[in-house]
Amino acid sequence: MTENFKPKITLFHCINAFGDADELALNDKDAFEIQTVKMACSSMVKDVFLLRAFEAGADGVIVMVCPEGQCRYIEGNIRAKKRVAWVQNLLDEIGLDGRRLFLNNMASGDNAAVNQAMDNVLKNLAEVGPNPAV
């Protein structure tokens, strides 16, 4: 683990998972820097957006989507899941480590789940370290 590593995180989220980042009651906010990108549906998260977040300096990228079976547009979260898996493989292939990219299903208003997911993300990022392409 890199000392004093304060990860930069880009969070893409479906507005149906939560409306605004302000609604998130995140614990330990000083442990990371976060930038959020709202989407009308998680299916709008294209491969290139995820990669460009890393190009822009993110150490980790999270895509928060509705629970499976509860997408307002039927299959948006399934599409997001497949795209995330594709980009994770691409990150592995280019040596950036696919563990920097996360997908979390969360029910609207479930802050406990969000904080649990964030803990996992921070734990993984502590292992993989800063983005080597910055």
Binding site: F54, G95, L96, P132
Partner: protein
């Protein structure tokens, strides 16, 4: 359409290694449809290569440009200014597109980023299957619109081999038996008599076996 598949990042990195300014040139026709070389794939590849090169400490400038069709000069020409700004072109078109760009820009290295795979159709979203071998002598009228030259593992022209089971090929049980499909289709069309037509051994001279082919339409020549 022509179906292709993007090469691995490792292979592409090796191909573009000698260059510091490279243009990734997409094609908005066949390879766009099969997610190998359209505008979106150009953007993803450019981003991935920038990240990979930065991680490796290699300075590279990558420009992106996609034309409607890379196999026609009229469209390729639109990329001329971008090509002039770069040391080389990584083409995400099929092999014909790569060669058309190379022919038009004789002094620029034009490199392939896609493996051209086959002539096929979109069977369902995300699944592409080979259905034409481009043999140069189409017999689909006799076979009810299903090509045994491409879709029968044994390329049989006068009926099934007898090895298929439950409509699947004995060579690959995941593949439909072409002759089962042909017979089903001929039944539907009321053309079962087609099975009585003797199809002579195929003359492969019209295929690639006779060397690269050329088609000339005098009426369109100037």
């Amino acid at each position: 359409m022509i179906v292709g598949e993007q090469k691995s990042i490792a292979e592409i990195k090796a191909i573009i290694a000698p260059y510091k300014k490279i243009l990734i040139m997409g094609c908005g026709t066949c390879v766009k449809t099969c997610f190998a070389g359209g505008e979106d794939e150009v953007a993803v590849l450019a981003s991935a290569l920038r990240l990979a090169c930065k991680k490796d400490g290699k300075d590279i400038e990558i420009e992106e440009f996609t034309v409607e069709r890379q196999c026609e000069n009229e469209f390729i020409q639109e990329g001329a200014p971008a090509i002039a700004r770069n040391e080389g072109v990584l083409s995400l078109a099929c092999g014909a597109g790569v060669q058309a760009v190379a022919r038009r820009f004789a002094n620029t290295p034009v490199l392939p980023g896609v493996n051209t795979t086959f002539i096929g159709v979109l069977e369902k979203q995300g699944v592409f299957t080979e259905e034409c071998s481009g043999c140069g002598n189409c017999g689909l009228a006799v076979f009810g619109g299903i090509c045994p030259v491409t879709r029968c593992a044994k390329k049989l022209l006068n009926g099934p081999c007898g090895g298929s089971q439950n409509g699947k090929c004995e060579v690959n049980p995941e593949t439909d038996c072409a002759w089962q499909l042909i017979i089903d289709r001929l039944k539907t069309l009321g053309q079962m008599d087609n099975l009585r037509i003797y199809v002579a051994p195929k003359n492969w001279q019209t295929s690639l076996s006779g060397g690269p082919r050329k088609m000339v339409r005098e009426d369109h020549m100037i």
